[in-house]
Amino acid sequence: MSTEPLIFEMGAPGRRAATLFEMDVPTRPLIDLLPAEALRQDDAPLPEVSEIEIVRHFTHLSQRNFGVDAGFYPLGSCTMKYNPKLNEDMAGLPGFARLHPLQDDDQAQGAIELVYRLEEMLSAIAGMARVTVQPSAGAHGEITGLMVIKAYHASRGEGRRNIVLIPDGAHGTNPASATLADYEIREIRTDARGGVDVDHLRELLDENVAALMMTNPNTLGVFDENIVEIARMVHEAGGQLYYDGANANAIMGLARPGDMGFDVVHFNLHKTCSTPHGGGGPGAGPIGVAPHLVPFLPGPLPARDADGGYHWEDAGEQSIGRVRANYGNFLVLVRAYTYLRFHGPDGLRQVSESAILNANYLMHALKDLYTLPFDRTCMHEFVLSANQQKARGVTAMDIAKRLLDFGMYAPTVYFPLIVPEAIMIEPTETETRETLDRFIEVMRQIDQESRTEPATVTQAPHTTTVGRLDQTLAARKPRLRWSPGDAPRTAEKSVPVGVSR
C-alpha cells in the first residue's frame, strides 16, 4: 500500500487488544475513593483497535523504515555500525530488564558490578581517572561535563570564567550545551589543514575562558596534529579541555583523550559501542574526567565494598549533584558492556583501525569526482563538498536523496557548516569491501548523472514509498498531532489507484 493510515483512523468503538488481570479485589465506587473534582471526565480518546490491527500497523510502519540491518548507513558523525544481536539478548535478560531502580543494593549486585566494570573500561579507553555513566546521551554528557568544569572553577574562586571556546566546525550540541551551562560562546576558526586555528585560539584565550570544547578527530574527520600544543595553551590560560567523544570510534586503542590533555570526555555509547540508535534514541553519554575533576562528578557512583560487593555511593560535597533520576540508561549500558567485553583491547583497536581504513578507502576513490576540501589522510570519516555538482545544478541534498534509490541511506549533508555543500561520510568498520565498492560505484554514477541527466538526481528519490516531502508546509502550518476530523494532508495530484504495495 502506498500509505499507511494513522492508527487513529483505524479501529471501531469498543475494540481493544490488551487484557489485564481480572479484577479480583473488592471494589468500591471511584467517587468514594477520590475527590470528584480530581476525576477524569472523558476517557482519554486513545484508539480503539484490536491486536491484529496493531500488529499489522506497526509491521507496515517498520516496513517503511530503513535501518542498518537493511543496508549501508554512511551517516557521518553518527557511527551507524552493525548492532550486534547479542547486545539485545543480554539487555533482555530478566535479571537486568526486570529490576526496579530503588531495590536495595544487595538485590542488584550484578547490575552495580556491571556498571562499575563498565566505568573502569571506559576510563581505560579514555585515559581518564573516573567515569560516570549517568548522562543519557552525548548532549547530556556535554552539559554534565560543563557543569563539572564550572564547579571546578568555582571551587578555585574562578567563577568569573564565563566563556567556552568552540571550533566553528563543532556539532550544534556543543554551543547549545554551553549556553545551557550559562556560558558565552566564542567560535574558533578552522585552519587550512582542517584543525583548530592555533593563532585564533591564542587570540581568544584569556582569564575568562572556562573551557575549550572540541572533538578529535574533529567533524572533518581530521586528527588535530596540534592537540598537545592546544592543550598546553588552554591549560596555561587556566581553562579546561572538553573532549566531545562522538568520534571516539577513530581512536580506541590508538590514542587516549587523557593523553592528549583533555580533562573531560564524553562517550556516545550508541555510536561507538553500537548499542544501537533506536531511530533516534535511547543513547548513553558517560563522561570521564581527569583526577582533579573527580570530586565534582554527579552522583550516585558505584563503589566496591571491602568484601567484594558493590553499592551506590552518594555524591560528595563538591559534586554538582544529580543530573537525572536513577543510574543512567542502564539497559543501554548493558549493551555497551557487552560490546566492550566481546572486543577486548585487541578487538577495539582493530575496530578503530578498520574504521579508519574504510573511510580512507572511500575518500581515496571519491576525491577525484567530489571536492575534498582538506586533502589529508582522514580518520574514521571524511567530508566532501558537492560544489562541482552544485555548479551543474545538483546539490548535496539531491545527491543524498538519489542515494536512497540504491537501497542505501544518505551521508550527513550540510554539516559541518564550514564546508559548502558538505557530504559527511562515515562507513564504520563493519562494512564489507563489496559494500564500499558499491557505494563508490553509485556515487560515481550520480556524479555522471549530474552531468548527463541532472533531473534524475534533483527529482530523486524515485523508488521510495514517499517522494520528497514538503518541509516548508510542515513548518509554516505545523500539524504536530492528529485531531478528530483531520483529513490526511494530500495534494490534489492523482495517485495511481488499484496498485498497492
Partner: protein
C-alpha cells in the same frame, strides 16, 4: 573478537590501493607522544558464548521482578505489558535506524512518533507534545528552563512532594543555568497552598507540582493552578505514574501550561530505571519555545501524506547556542514502545488500568493498615501508592520480606528524614493481584 567483516588479506589489499602498507601509515596525524603504546588496559575479549554465560551470571545476582513480587513504586512502576509491544517495537527496522533525517526512507519512525505525540496529547489533554526527552526528571528540568526562558533568571517553585530525584536534578541545573529554585512546603503530605501563595511573586517563572505526588496523594491541582495563574508563572504538572491519567483529570483539564512526565512504564522494561522516557506536552501557543524534536504531517511531491521532523529551527542542529534545548539523541525507541502499548490498551484499557490501580492499592491499603504495627501516615486521597509507618525500620522489614520473595516499600527517610526510619511508601499497580497482596500481608504479619 570483532564484527569486522573484511579479513586481514582484504584489508591489506585495500591498504595497497591507498599506497599504504600498514594501518600505521594512515595514522601519521596522531603525534607520537599521544599515540598509545601497547594495548588498552581492558579485560581480554570473551567469545559470544562465554560472554553470554558471564552476563547471565551477573544478571543472576540480581533479584528480578519475575522472581519477586514488587511493591516498590516511587517513580518506577511494574506494569502489565502485553507481548505485542516488544515484538513490534524491537523490529530491527526501528531498532537499527537513526534519527529520521531522511524522511523518504524513515516514514515508519516518523509516523510512529507522530502517533506518539498525539497519544501523549490524548492522555494529558494537552495541545502538543514532543517526540520525547531523556526521562521525567530532565523533562521537568526542561519545563523549568522553558519557563525561565533563554538567558533568563528568576525563580522556579517546586513542591516538596515532587519526586526527590527530580528536585535534586532541578537543583543541579538551576545552579548551573542560573535561576533560583525554591521548595514549597508540605501540608499533611500534599503541597501547601498557603506556602505556595507565600512564595509566589513577580519573579516566579514556574510552579512545579507532581500529580499524584510522591506520596501517591492526589493534589488539589485546580487550586494550585489558580494560585499560580494569579501571577505570570507557568503551571507545570509533573507526572511519574502515567497510569493515573486513566482516572485522574488530565493536566489539560486544569489548565496546566506544561506537562513533564516519566513515560517509561508505558510498555518499556523497567530496566533498573533506564533508559527512561521523558514526556513533554504543552499549550499550542508555547510551541516555538518547546524543547525537543517534533514530527509534523506534510505532503510529498507525489501528493501523498508524509511525515517529517519539523520546526527544527528551535533545535541545536540549526539554532546552535540559541536553541531551546541542547537535546539531540532522545528516547525515540521507547516512544515506539509506548505508542504500541497505548494502542494496545486503547481507550478502554487505559481507563481500566487506572481503575485497577486505584482499587488494588486501596484493597492493599485496607489490608496492610489493618495489621498491628502498621499505621497510615496521611489521610489524603491517593492513587496507587500510600505511606505507612511500621513498627520496625523499613530496611529490616524489607530484608525479611526479600527472603519471602517480596520487594517491600520505599524507605521514606531516604528523602524525607523527618518521616523516620520506619516510614514506607507502598505501591500497588494493576500488576499486583489479590493473591500477591494477600501474600504481602501475610509476610508482613510474620515480619512485624
Amino acid at each position: 573478537m570483532t564484527y569486522i567483516p573484511n579479513t586481514p588479506a582484504e584489508q591489506h589489499a585495500m591498504l595497497r590501493t591507498l599506497g599504504a602498507e600498514t594501518i600505521d601509515d594512515l595514522l601519521g596525524a596522531i603525534p607520537a607522544d599521544v599515540r598509545l603504546q601497547g594495548e588498552l588496559n581492558l579485560p581480554p575479549a570473551l567469545s559470544e558464548p562465554a560472554l553470554r554465560r558471564h552476563e547471565m551470571a551477573l544478571a543472576g545476582k540480581n533479584l528480578n521482578l519475575d522472581e519477586a513480587l514488587c511493591f516498590l513504586g516511587a517513580g518506577s512502576y511494574d506494569r502489565v505489558v502485553p507481548s505485542v509491544v516488544a515484538h513490534l517495537a524491537k523490529r530491527s527496522e526501528f531498532l537499527t535506524s537513526y534519527t529520521p533525517y531522511q524522511p523518504e526512507v524513515s516514514q515508519g519512525m516518523l509516523q510512529a512518533t507522530y502517533e506518539f505525540q498525539t497519544m501523549v496529547c490524548q492522555i494529558t489533554g494537552m495541545a502538543i507534545a514532543n517526540a520525547s526527552l531523556y526521562d521525567g526528571s530532565t523533562a521537568t528540568v526542561e519545563a523549568a528552563l522553558m519557563a525561565v526562558g533563554p538567558g533568563g533568571r528568576g525563580e522556579v517553585l517546586v513542591s516538596r512532594a515532587v519526586d526527590p530525584q527530580y528536585r535534586q536534578t532541578l537543583a543541579t541545573y538551576a545552579h548551573a543555568r542560573g535561576f533560583t529554585l525554591r521548595e514549597i512546603a508540605l501540608d499533611g503530605g500534599a503541597t501547601s497552598a498557603r506556602d505556595l501563595q507565600a512564595h509566589l511573586g513577580p519573579e516566579t517563572k514556574a510552579v512545579i507540582v507532581q500529580q499524584p505526588n510522591f506520596f501517591g496523594i492526589v493534589e488539589d491541582m485546580p487550586a494550585l493552578e489558580a494560585l499560580t495563574h494569579s501571577t505570570t508563572a507557568l503551571f507545570v504538572a509533573a507526572i511519574t505514574e502515567p497510569a493515573s491519567l486513566g482516572v485522574l483529570a488530565p493536566p489539560g483539564a486544569y489548565n496546566a501550561d506544561i506537562v513533564a512526565a516519566e513515560g517509561a512504564s508505558l510498555g518499556n522494561p523497567i530496566g533498573y530505571g533506564g533508559p527512561a522516557l521523558g514526556l513533554f506536552a504543552t499549550k499550542a501557543d508555547l510551541m516555538k519555545r518547546m524543547p525537543g524534536r517534533l514530527v509534523g504531517e506534510t505532503v510529498d511531491d507525489r501528493g501523498q501524506r508524509g511525515f517529517v521532523l519539523t520546526l527544527q529551527a528551535r533545535e541545536q542542529q540549526i539554532r546552535r547556542e540559541k536553541a531551546t534545548s541542547n537535546i539531540c539523541t532522545n528516547q525515540a525507541l521507547l516512544a515506539v514502545f509506548a505508542t504500541v502499548y497505548l494502542a494496545s490498551l486503547g481507550r478502554q484499557g487505559f481507563k481500566e488500568m487506572g481503575v485497577q490501580c486505584v482499587q488494588r492499592a486501596h484493597y492493599a491499603f485496607d489490608q496492610v493498615t489493618a495489621l498491628p504495627g502498621v499505621r497510615p501516615i496521611f489521610d489524603k486521597p491517593f492513587f496507587d501508592e500510600f505511606a505507612v509507618t511500621l513498627s520496625q525500620p523499613v530496611s529490616a522489614v524489607n530484608r525479611a520480606l526479600a527472603q519471602r520473595g517480596i520487594i517491600g516499600g520505599y524507605a521514606l527517610d531516604r528523602a524525607y528524614p523527618e518521616q523516620g526510619a520506619n516510614a514506607a511508601l507502598f505501591c500497588v499497580t494493576e500488576a499486583r493481584t489479590r493473591d500477591d497482596i494477600d501474600q504481602l500481608v501475610r509476610a508482613m504479619k510474620e515480619v512485624l
